[in-house]
Symmetry: C2
Subunit: 421 residues, 2 copies
């Protein structure tokens, strides 16, 4: 078979197990743990349904959790953790392990106490209760939410060793809520006159308020005032009871515990959109209004936290791709650091501005690999290399790094975050 | 405005709140709790990211859980609980509140100890470890899983008062796994000769083993050997580490803790497919091989557990529709017990054999309503009334009740499970 091990070849050994040998065990001399274990599973009843009215992952998966990086998180004032994307598959991110980024911590706000004010250049300033919001026509969509600082530590080269830490400030959920345009029209936009050049300023009920300006055109397009994620209420750390969903745009705009939307004739130029969330260029000037998250991808397995645990032969390379401009149309994968590329198989086609899963099924010959993935979206945009980004923006940037990521895989299957030129 | 209250009308009162009156409070005399509450939220930092490495719903949502019905669950031997569909929106069901049905309880099985045997009429009987399964090409799809007994208590008329209990034995998740056909072909199907008329017998590692026969045609079609649900590992109660996903077919076939797949030249006629999961007709004969779950729908809000909490005016009627035969193409809703029907707005188009959310936005005049929904799928099939089902099958059945459900709404907005003819 041209020196390649086939899946059949790999698994034939398994057949012997019917004679009681565990492929998992080091030598055939060891007794198969199944001999006793199976008896246990089959001889006694398991847990009843009253045990977990609301379930959590099984104890054996206790390592699949949000993780934080000490030197990044001083405290609630500025706290970050990361989605364990190296251990997930498919496209949906469970709320329980979806990354968090708070500017003054996650607050606890009851539906009964919740209010949303719409004021400024509107005919009738309004304050909505949570119950009011539930009376407007709702929509349901799947969108990714990526922090603008995701992969930011990589500008200066390979830093954090793991997809969870380099690319884990992203999650992808099915949101249900009321379009912001519906609420703006309810308050009456005639007072704003010509809507061209108008803005909305959105802020949260937390201490940071995290105020941001959004052009009216986007506010009237696909922005959602959301109260459900993946079918259920938003979790406290995701803005319960109401957060803003700004499809395709940087996560900082997705204001949690949404408190107020003011219609203005100019941007506020708040702290969060001037000293923060802008990209400082080589000459010291700042790139501003960089809202849209460009096409990007990352291989989640194999990766530093998800090494190859078997020898040569069949190997599934899998990862995630996304674009704030729409749908992912193609993802290429290289195993030799970009010398040759193969087009990956897209999993279930993700929605526009949502994560798309990709797979490349290969026969690994056991030699070293330099793994990279390169995403393309429906606008024809191609994910750039880190060097191309540095050429355009210098090395002072922190935000909006959508450069191609490289994992070095050694002959043992261990993976490492490296940078190649 | 033709006597109708507009959304604007409803919410104008809200505007006054900017002067400190809470629409939520009983009278204008009461102080607005916000005056102090807001200060608290804005003056102190909230929880840091280390608080919940794996998050749970906020305390205020503690009623949105799986619930069980005492007289239905004697113990782990036969236990059932129900998804709180009355409180969810969108289409995805979080694993934590997705219904459970166990025949001998949920067992705890480590990936290291997991084995899947494929034997019978195959060239090479194989035993796969969990690590082996991860080396085959994977697919990701969203599918609903409905217990054949869902709504079964309604054959004799309105029984349980709540959508969670009448229709909650269903969930909808994004599954990732290996197509069963891939593993069958790995073991070699030539030994089975002509595949027409061949079957696979699937069983789980739990005490019940829950053995079921599946025609080869379906086994080679869209059946998945799944290890991820909604992106993460299957929960213990959903078959960790591996369960069978049989799209569109009754939940009992979705064997959890999948242990063995045997290729046979005839169905086994096991307990689970003879004395159970067959429908006893009027003449005492049994309808067998009723695998596919026909088109069905239910209004989740308003419903007995989700009453209307506001007066006349704008009201969002929402529910779920699904079909084991493919996509939902249309859902009609009536507010007068079937005298007149309106076509509902479909939310994000669900995938084939997955839940589809529907909405009907109306102006409620405050009078009583008899709410029903009627689903249609891509085969042209129309969801029948309970009476039509009884006409065809008599009243001895327990399983496969996809009849139209009726909620009576009184002028106060309270809902009740009723039956009309």
């Amino acid at each position: 078979m041209n020196g390649k091990t086939t899946r059949r070849g790999i698994l034939k050994g398994g057949a012997a197990m019917t004679a009681g040998l565990a492929a998992g065990s080091a030598s055939a001399a060891e007794p198969d743990p199944l001999i006793t274990e199976v008896q246990d599973w089959a001889m006694y009843t398991g847990a009843g349904v009253d045990e977990v009215p609301y379930g959590l992952p099984i104890e054996y998966e206790s390592d699949v959790i949000r993780r934080n990086v000490e030197w990044l998180t001083a405290g609630p004032i500025s706290s970050i953790n990361f989605t364990p994307i190296h251990a997930l598959d498919g496209t949906i991110t469970p709320q329980g392990c979806a990354f968090e980024r708070h500017h003054s911590g996650a607050i606890s706000l009851r539906k009964e106490d919740y209010r949303l004010m719409i004021n400024g250049l509107v005919d009738t300033p309004l304050v909505f209760t949570y119950a009011d919001l539930e009376r407007f026509p709702r929509e349901t969509h799947v969108y990714f939410c990526e922090c603008a600082a995701n992969t930011g530590m990589e500008w200066a080269g390979a830093q954090l060793n793991g997809a969870q830490f380099t690319h884990g400030m992203i999650h992808n959920m099915e949101y249900t809520g009321v379009p912001l345009r519906t609420l703006l029209k309810e308050a009456g936009l005639d007072a704003a006159g010509d809507l061209a050049g108008k803005w909305v300023y959105v802020e949260g009920a937390d201490a940071s308020s995290n105020g941001r300006s959004i052009p009216m055109e986007k506010a009237l397009d696909d922005v959602l005032v959301a109260f459900k994620a993946n079918g259920e209420a938003l979790r406290k750390e995701h803005g319960y009871p109401v957060r803003l969903v700004v499809p395709g745009w940087e996560g900082n705009l997705w204001v949690k515990w949404l408190r107020r939307v003011e219609v203005l004739d100019a941007a506020v130029e708040s702290r969060e959109e001037t000293s923060k969330y802008t990209d400082v260029m080589e000459d010291g000037s700042a790139r501003k209004w960089t809202w849209v998250m460009d096409a990007k991808s990352v291989i989640t397995s194999p990766s530093p936290q998800s090494p190859i645990t078997h020898g040569p032969g069949p190997l599934v390379i899998s990862g995630l791709a996304w674009s704030g401009h729409g749908r992912i149309t193609r993802v290429d994968v290289t195993t030799d650091g970009g010398v040759t590329w193969q087009t990956a198989r897209l999993g279930r086609q993700g929605d526009a501005k949502a994560l798309t899963r990709f797979y490349l099924d290969i026969e690994w010959d056991g030699s070293e690999m330099l793994l990279q993935s390169r995403a393309m979206d429906e606008t024809g945009y191609v994910q750039p290399t880190k060097d191309q980004l540095r050429e355009m923006r210098g090395e002072n940037s922190v935000y909006h790094n959508n450069g191609i990521q490289t994992w070095y895989i050694n002959s043992e299957g261990a993976a490492e975050n490296v940078e190649i030129s």
